[in-house]
């Protein structure tokens, strides 16, 4: 170890040695705690410490922090060091501040004051220390405090070069926090002209700053282009001796060259001036020529620096995308790198070629390297390089080579790293769809994908194959035949069962003529997989079976037996149970004509951008290599591709959300599902997931009539209700979720005799035993005689396994608003009534905090669900909601008006109710408050 110059700190060295000599983590922590206690006592002690001691202790704290321990004191001492007149103390103070002080510190004002002093110093070393500290912290406070000084330092003639360099980068850092710090006007040209500075270090630092400024305001800084091209031209034509210490391993000024080339990528085209453009192209050609020269040194530093410039030049050539000859030369150069022995170069060459593949000028040139790229995908030792090769194959794929590339990718997929499989599956699926001229090929590819990498095939992929098969008649028979064959494999992936189930359910009839795939054979094949599948897939298969009943009436009996099976009809899974019982009934009660209508072939899906592409984009934002035709809009299918491409990612992912949810409607059943099949518990699938949690939805039922009212581990209670005038009917559905019967099962109505005079509720008795997995229904009728408050509830009492009686109380959705009739009226009559109901007893008003986030469309839905008529264009403020309705009771009808005013800023709502009866006004207000 060399002796340290400057002044060493013995105490620090001893402490570091101590730490290094600690045999265990515990010993280290003990030693550190001892030191922390020591430093704390020194800092707190009465004896004033001299600068050296302060510096030493601050330095020790810094070391302890860097070991990974938290430091919560010493900041003040460090700030004190900033104003020391000894440079070594000041420097340690600054170091501590930049490593340990966060931007919100209370000390920031003191720090800023010290920095101000140092910026005024005549010693450039002090000034630089201050500038580096500003750049390290880079907070808004600093930007505001120094917005005058730093630009001045940067362009002033008196400033020394080293200070200018720091000032340029310091300003850049502050600009990133606070873009308005840069003065405009005459400053612009002075900053641009730093590109002409004598000192290469100044130019290098200034170029970074200008690059950022140009990105913000390209027009204002346009003047930098010609200066940058001249500077670049001087560098590339310089011999390596010209630039002295700015030549790095025989490469003249590689950092500045790269920065200038980056700067020029901010404009497209870089310049209108043909002269400047010519000079730039000369520069680029020279760089390409130099790449062909024999290396001036065998050192990797030489080749790295030289190639760094070359790759940046190629980036600029790709960015300009106008000079065919340069693009092709760049491609050939990269082609050579593909077989270089440096892994780094192969990696970068593959990456750069991805961009070349998307240019019409160089796409063909890239394709010449297809074989090498395929080899890279298979043979590279480093998975990140293999990944680049996959990306490039994806980018260079077009109609002419699609079959080969897709096949190679499929072959490779069998052995590919787990980390890249999912993405590869998406890419193969996209390419196969895009370049399919023959859809039998497409079907083969996707089924292969499922066979080879079933676990990595996401929902979108198999949804998509079904959309395409359904939309293309010519491939339906082939798809049915192929998927039937694929299902015969002894172990086949569940995704295959899903595709198989769906396709055979739609098009199984197309292959039923062949005795080897007769209806019964198809059914048995599918059903042999049934018990191995998840309930989602089983639900899908049940739909396939009911479709079979329509397609093949001859096997109806067998299928009905399956529906009747205990495990289906009484399945613990509500969705399966429901499908089994409803499909069974449908097959029994419906005539052939009705069956044929209900179970008709699915209509075509609207053509749209492949949802898979959106998934891929989402997976790697900003990093998806483009596939050539995606950019050119030459895509053959689907038709709407061109329009969709024009939209941004955002909309396509919105599309995707629809596309993936509406195919089967399983995961998120649409609200209006209960058209043909009576869907009592429509949203059961979405609410049964959290099995262990207790769901008690009664509050939500103020706004709706059907759904799951309550659920815990044992019991699920669903409700379906309807109301007309002052009468209502409720069906309660009790589902036993356990494996044993619930005994002594008695639901009792809880509603006082006094209340019953206003709301009369009749309840039918139910069987006292609720079998395992079974569901029973209980009917209630309600008659509203007079207005009332609250709602009846029901107490469920039962025993499990002969244990103690359990009780569950659930409020019934029988609040007074259920007897609302929505009332339409115009502005004039609304306001007339509103004024009439202005009495003290008739009004109620409440202000309450909105639920986050404030949801206006949601609020409108709720009001409609509440039973009121939304009256639009009555309130001049479109955000305000105005409603009217009449509550029907036997005794009288109560008109009711409502106004709900959101305050977006305060995230509050103001609710006003007016009605002819005070009690009703209050009750409606109570029911609605805090619900939005």
């Amino acid at each position: 170890m060399a002796p340290v110059r400057g002044d060493g700190m013995r105490g620090l060295a001893v402490f570091i040695s101590d730490i290094r000599n600690c045999k265990s983590k515990e010993a280290e922590i003990k030693r550190i705690n001892k030191e922390l206690a020591n430093i704390r006592s020194k800092f707190k002690g009465d004896k004033t410490l001299d600068g050296y001691q302060k510096k030493k202790y601050v330095c020790k704290l810094l070391f302890i922090f860097l070991l990974g321990h938290d430091i919560d004191f010493g900041h003040m001492e460090a700030v004190n060091l900033l104003s020391s007149n000894k440079y070594s103390e000041k420097q340690i103070g600054y170091l501590f501040i930049s490593v340990l002080v966060n931007t919100n510190s209370d000390l920031i004002k003191l720090i800023i004051q010290s920095i101000k002093n140092d910026l005024q110093s005549r010693n450039p070393i002090h000034v630089n220390l201050a500038l580096q500290c500003i750049a390290n912290i880079g907070s808004r406070d600093m930007a505001e405090a120094f917005s005058n000084e730093i630009p001045k330092l940067l362009v002033s003639g008196d400033t020394m070069d080293v200070v200018k360099q720091s000032a340029a980068l310091c300003l850049l850092r502050l600009f990133r926090t606070c873009p308005d710090i840069i003065p405009g006007g005459e400053w612009t040209s002075r900053i641009i002209h730093l590109l002409n500075d004598q000192h290469m270090g100044v130019v290098t630092a200034a170029t970074s700053l200008i690059d950022a400024l140009v990105k913000k305001n390209p027009e204002e800084y346009k003047g930098c282009v010609s200066l940058a091209v001249s500077r670049l031209s001087r560098i590339v034509t310089a011999s390596y001796t010209d630039l002295q210490d700015y030549t790095y391993y025989f490469v003249p000024a590689p950092w500045l060259s790269v920065k200038l080339l980056r700067l020029l990528q901010n404009y497209n085209p870089p310049t209108e001036d043909p002269g400047v453009r010519g000079r730039l192209n000369e520069c680029l050609e020279t760089i390409l020529n130099k790449a062909q020269e024999p290396p001036k040194s065998k050192k990797v530093q030489h080749s790295n620096a030289k190639n760094a410039v070359l790759f940046e030049a190629i980036n600029l050539i790709i960015h300009n995308d106008s000079e065919a000859s340069l693009l092709v030369r760049a491609c050939n150069q990269l082609g050579q790198f593909l077989s270089n022995r440096e892994t780094n170069l192969r990696y970068l060459a593959l990456e750069s070629m991805c961009h070349l593949a998307t240019s019409e000028f160089s796409h063909e040139a890239v394709k010449k390297h297809q074989e090498v790229v395929i080899l890279s995908m298979k043979m590279e030792k480093d998975v990140s390089v293999r990944q680049q090769a996959v990306d490039l194959l994806y980018a260079m794929c077009d109609r002419s080579n699609a079959e080969e590339i897709v096949q190679e990718m499929l072959n490779y997929l069998e052995t590919a790293d787990y980390s890249i499989r999912e993405e590869m599956v998406l890419k193969v699926a996209i390419l196969a769809e895009k370049y399919a001229t023959d859809y039998t090929w497409y079907v083969d590819v996707i089924l292969n994908l499922i066979r080879i990498a079933g676990d990595y095939v996401s929902e979108e992929v198999w949804y998509r194959v079904i959309q395409i098969v359904i939309n293309r008649e010519e491939v339906q028979g082939y798809a049915a035949k192929t998927v039937f064959e694929a299902l015969q494999a002894p172990a086949c992936h569940e995704n295959m069962v899903k595709v198989g189930g769906y396709i055979l359910g739609e098009f199984g009839n197309l292959i039923a003529g062949d005795s080897r795939s007769a209806p019964m054979v198809q059914f048995k094949l599918l059903h042999s997989k049934y018990h191995l599948c998840s309930s989602m897939t089983r639900a899908l298969l049940l739909s396939t079976y009911i479709k079979f009943i329509n397609l093949f009436p001859e096997i109806r009996g067998t299928i009905q037996d399956v529906f009747r099976q205990h495990s289906n009809l009484r399945s613990a899974d509500a969705e399966l149970q429901q499908r089994a019982s409803e499909y069974l009934q449908l097959s029994i009660v419906a005539s052939t004509d009705v069956l044929a209508t209900v179970l008709e072939e699915m209509p075509s899906f609207p053509e749209r951008e492949s949802s898979i592409l959106a998934v891929l984009k989402k997976k790697k934002p900003g990093r998806v290599p483009e596939n050539a035709e995606i950019r050119d809009n030459k895509s053959p299918v689907p038709n709407s591709h061109a329009q969709n491409n024009a939209q941004n990612n955002h909309t396509s992912s919105a599309n995707n959300a629809n596309a993936s949810s509406d195919l089967l409607g399983l995961s998120t059943p649409p609200a209006n599902q209960s058209g043909t099949l009576i869907d009592v518990l429509g949203d059961i699938y979405s609410t049964t997931n959290g099995n262990s949690s207790v769901i008690n939805n009664s509050k939500k039922f103020v706004f709706k009539n059907n759904g799951v009212l309550f659920e815990n581990d044992l019991l699920q209670i669903g409700v379906k209700s309807e109301f007309r005038q002052n009468l209502g009917r409720l069906g309660l559905y009790y589902g036993n979720k356990t494996q044993t019967a619930l005994q002594n099962f008695v639901p009792t109505l809880q509603w006082s005799a006094e209340d019953a005079l206003k709301l009369n509720v009749q309840i039918k008795a139910v069987e006292p035993t609720l079998e395992a997995g079974a569901q029973i229904q209980q009917l209630l009728t309600a008659e509203c005689i007079d207005h009332y408050v609250g709602a009846p509830s029901i107490i469920m009492s039962f025993r499990v396994n002969g244990g103690a009686i359990q009780k569950i109380t659930v409020n019934l959705p029988l609040t007074v608003n259920k007897f609302f009739e929505p009332t339409e009226m115009n502005a004039e009559s609304f306001f007339a009534r509103w004024r009439n109901l202005g009495g003290e007893q008739q009004r109620a008003q409440r202000v309450f905090k909105a639920q986050q986030p404030l949801d206006l469309p949601g609020a409108r839905n709720k009001l409609t669900g509440f039973g009121l008529q939304l009256l639009d264009s009555i309130d001049p403020n479109p955000d305000n909601m105005v409603c009217a309705g009449i509550i029907h009771t036997q005794a009288h009808k109560v008109g009711c008006l409502l106004r709900l005013e959101p305050n977006k800023q305060a995230q509050m709502f103001r609710l006003t109710i007016r009605s002819s009866l005070e009690a009703v006004t209050q009750e409606i207000c109570e029911l609605l408050v805090d619900q939005f």
Partner: protein
């Protein structure tokens, strides 16, 4: 722009860290841990670049020390390797065949040298000579002060 630079040993001990973007200590520790594990598990002939979150990691091993930088997606990977190399050269020149111990015992010097090379995540001075000149000037200031102190101690000043 460089996001941060980490120096760590083959045993996974962090020796130096410099952050050019603001993160909380917790996040810094998490990033550091993750990267050290990732990089130490890579084989010698593997590519020096890897995609990581939304940036690119560039790393290189010198003897027992790994130097690791995070750059933005459009930054030049090869040249970042040479930023690392230039820093190693500077350390080497300053300490005279630098070893891990020099950086442990003189971590503050390692920081001062880095601050001359990079400011705010951008290269400030690529000339080796100029950086060393700046560091030497700092040392001269310190030595003067030390000499003053000594003279003051024996009553000569």
């Amino acid at each position: 722009m460089l996001q941060f630079m980490l120096l760590f040993s083959r045993q996974g001990k962090l020796r130096l860290q410099k952050w050019y973007v603001a993160h909380s200590d917790k996040v810094k520790k998490k990033i550091t841990r993750e990267l050290i594990t990732t990089i130490l598990s890579r084989k010698p002939k593997m590519c020096s670049f890897l995609e990581w979150k939304d940036c690119t990691i560039v790393y290189k091993r010198y003897a027992s020390l790994y130097f690791c930088c995070a750059i933005e997606q459009n930054d030049n990977e090869l040249l970042t390797l040479e930023v690392i190399h230039r820093y190693v050269e500077l350390l080497d020149k300053y300490f005279g065949s630098v070893c891990e111990l020099d950086i442990i015992f003189n971590f503050e010097k390692a920081y001062f040298i880095l601050d001359e090379l990079l400011v705010g995540g951008e290269i400030q001075e690529t000339s080796k000579k100029n950086v060393l000149k700046a560091i030497a000037a700092q040392d001269v200031l310190q030595e003067d002060e030390a000499a003053d102190g000594a003279l003051r101690d024996i009553g000569l000043l």
